[in-house]
């Protein structure tokens, strides 16, 4: 399948820096509206992030707001093809070891200093290497990073790594100013509190608990952009207030979890609002119930299969998520590369689930209960509580007595990291590729006392082998083979109870144009977003 990769690279190699701009302008013209310069975009930031520097913090609100200030080398289409951002073009050597990025010239930081390849190498080799644990393994595979000229950055890998380019999105590999971070503690440097980037908007003011204000950076490297005068992020902690804000026009955009799923149907009905779930393909968040395999009954495959069969995924998607998203079919989301539609979980079947439990030797005891489990509720809001409550009721139906434990974010993270839980729930991003975002939850080598690793403690040598094969295979076809097999295997073993492929809604006022253009959606820099009059 060499061709596929060639085609992909060919398409992007041919792309010019102006292409996306023309595309979006074209799209706008097609709707009969010329981009209008001016106007403030008011939107919501929720929950209020601690800082706005991507990398230092990687929570969704930080990423959404931070990408307007800080940029990456590339961005990605909904099909996960690379598009230029700070890199205007790039080449990959045929052996897949050498990556050369040609950078935009005339780019300046918000403090006026020029942006060069030194910044890129610093960001990749030092800043992100330290602050981004997820990429540490990938970055450790870089043998050499050089700057042949101030506008060229060259990376040589120790061995081929097919998804390497996917790591260069602003959300994964933010490019920061070397002169502001070098020699400092990256987490406490002054630039963390007052972020400086190359993006279309510069940070102006943050009244904590109230709002964050960004203004157009007049020295932005794309002439004539951005169209907007600035962005005002209001901090609205209450869900109903957020809904009211978008309905009443006090804000013109909401993102991610701003609007609760149950409010979406009403908002869809509003003629002046547009609701879309596009723009999350790069992340493909997958929701699952996490089962600690070290807990007695959960080590038994049959018990896990029974639990999986007790979940009515259609009900969950329709009733709890109000149709936002799709029932999960396996460990890899359907929007992620190498998804195999033939690997499918067995359907909802309570009777069969009970039979499986009987077979596993868990006969119903007093009160019809077979055994008891605790469930640690992730403290992230409404939908999580509902999902945990659903889990308890679904499990009780097949005779598993689930008790809920509530906790706080810190304790939740530390208990999950320390394997100190029986069951819980989680959502993980897949970052477009199984090697980047799926492998980590299943391989034996990643059983670590750190969150977002294989904390469930699932271990299967064959699964380890297959993920390794998928990681190192040089061609997409070879990778597909490995990943198909692993999907079939995992669907059989159900180490985790995959439930929903989450699709977060973006609600916009129809005056607001060009919002969702890429596979990262509202994480784009918004340099071509405008408010139609």
């Amino acid at each position: 399948m060499e061709l596929t990769r060639r085609n992909l690279l060919g398409a992007t190699l041919g792309a010019t820096a102006a292409a996306p701009v023309l595309m979006s302008a074209g799209a706008a013209l097609a709707q009969g509206v010329t981009p209008r310069r001016g106007g403030m975009l008011t939107t919501i930031l929720n929950p209020e992030p601690p800082v706005l520097q991507i990398g230092v913090n990687n929570q969704t609100p930080t990423l959404i707001a931070g990408t307007k200030i800080t940029q990456g080398l590339l961005q990605f289409t909904p099909k996960l093809e690379p598009l230029p951002q700070l890199a205007k073009s790039w080449t990959v050597s045929p052996d897949g070891l050498e990556y050369v990025f040609k950078l935009e010239e005339n780019v300046t930081w918000h403090d006026g200093k020029p942006f060069t390849a030194d910044d890129v190498v610093f960001s990749v080799m030092q800043f992100n290497r330290e602050v981004a644990p997820r990429l540490r393994g990938v970055l450790a595979g870089i043998a050499e990073a050089t700057t042949p000229d101030p506008h060229t950055a060259r990376f040589v890998l120790k061995q081929p790594f097919e998804p390497f380019l996917l790591c260069f999105d602003a959300t994964a590999m933010p490019i920061v100013a070397k002169h502001l971070f070098e020699g400092q503690n990256f987490r406490t440097a002054p630039a963390v509190q007052h972020p400086v980037g190359t993006g279309p908007f510069r940070f102006v003011e943050w009244q904590r608990g109230n709002f964050v204000r960004m203004e157009r950076y007049e020295g932005y490297w794309k002439p004539g952009k951005p169209y907007l005068d600035g962005i005002l992020w209001r901090i609205v902690p209450d869900g109903q207030s957020r809904r009211l804000a978008i309905e009443s026009g006090q804000v013109v955009m909401t993102t991610a979890t701003d609007i609760e799923p149950f409010d979406i149907p009403a908002l869809r009905a509003k003629p002046n609002l547009a609701v879309t779930t596009a723009g999350w393909e790069y992340f493909s968040p997958l929701f699952w119930y996490d089962l600690n395999q070290r807990v007695g009954p959960l080590a038994d495959k049959r018990v896990r299969q029974a639990m999986s069969m007790a979940l009515d995924r259609n009900f969950i998607v329709q009733r709890l998520w109000f149709g936002l998203g799709r029932p999960a079919t396996g460990p890899i989301a359907s929007t992620t590369r190498f998804y195999d539609a033939t690997a499918k979980l067995p359907p909802f079947d309570v009777a069969k689930a009970k039979k499986l439990l009987d077979e596993a030797g868990h006969k119903p005891g007093a009160g019809g209960m077979r055994f008891a489990l605790k469930h640690l509720i992730p403290p992230y809001g409404e939908i999580w509580n509902r999902m945990s409550e659903y889990f308890r009721q679904a499990m009780r139906q097949i005779g598993i007595d689930v008790t809920l434990e509530s906790t706080d974010a810190g304790t939740w993270a530390s208990r999950v990291a320390n394997w100190d839980y029986e069951t819980t729930a989680n959502v993980l991003y897949q970052f477009g590729d199984p090697t980047l975002g799926v492998e980590r939850s299943y391989v034996t080598s990643n059983i670590q006392k750190i969150t977002f690793t294989n904390t469930a403690g699932y271990s299967n040598p064959r699964v380890d082998e297959l993920f390794q094969a998928g990681r190192t295979a040089a061609t997409a076809a070879e990778r597909q083979k490995a990943f198909s097999e692993v999907q079939h295997l995992l669907v059989e073993e159900v180490p985790l109870l995959w439930v929903v492929e989450v699709a977060y809604p973006t609600v916009t006022d129809k005056k607001l144009r060009n919002v969702i253009q890429t596979g990262t959606g509202v994480h784009a820099s918004f340099d071509d977003v405008f408010l139609a009059s």
Partner: protein
Amino acid sequence: MSAFLRRFARNRGAVVGAVLLVLVIGMALFAPLLFPGSPWDMAGAPFQPPGEDGMLLGTDSLGRDVAAGIAYGAQVSLIVGAVSTAVALLIGVALGAVAGYLGGWADDAIMRFTEFFQTIPSFVLAILLVAIFTPSIASIIVAIAVVSWPPVTRVVRAEFLSLRNREFVQAAEVLGKRPLAIVLTDILPNALSPIIVLASLMTATAILLESSLSFLGLGDPNMMSWGFLIGSGRSVIRLAWWMSVFPGLAIFLTVLALNLVGEGLSDALNPRLRKRGAAH
């Protein structure tokens, strides 16, 4: 006793309160009969308005019966209210009795301690305690008790202080009765009326406190309380008003009932005040 009942019955509000309270207690006791099964069961389609689908008060976001939730919630709210009040009374009466009976430095020390607790914003302290000791029915009860005993101490101390100098207590002392016997047979029985009145008001406050804690997400996740219902209904208030309105009404009526009963008790146990009330 019958005179007391007559006096109590003369207060119309108190009778209404007592009837309401009996209804709420009955609802709590008979919840398993009225709504067999768990209030957490998904009994119908989600977000059914009241009356539809056989659900008297509608269903919530998981299709759970709001009416069942309110009935079972009465159990939790009443238990939390009663137990935390009992604990607070235990602390408050003990401290107040010691302070009022012994006087002197013990009184001084206890009163400083009490003032200190009254200075601390009680709701903030309750939140802190529940947060630190993780939300569970036990931690909620302890937190509510910890913030609600100071008024008891004050009232009991004042009563003891005044009763301590009453002649019948002095007479008991002159007869050679032991201090503990005097406290238990002479002073405490005569200090009971304000304590009973206070207890009914405290139960009301405890129910409000519990609902506030639950509303902030500090409820016991395995206990369907009224505060939990409002908290979970709050975000969908425009979609399903019944989810927050009915539990809110349940809290309102119960707290109102307890207050009315408290006032009735106060009047009935305190004929002097009743007369004053009637005189105007």
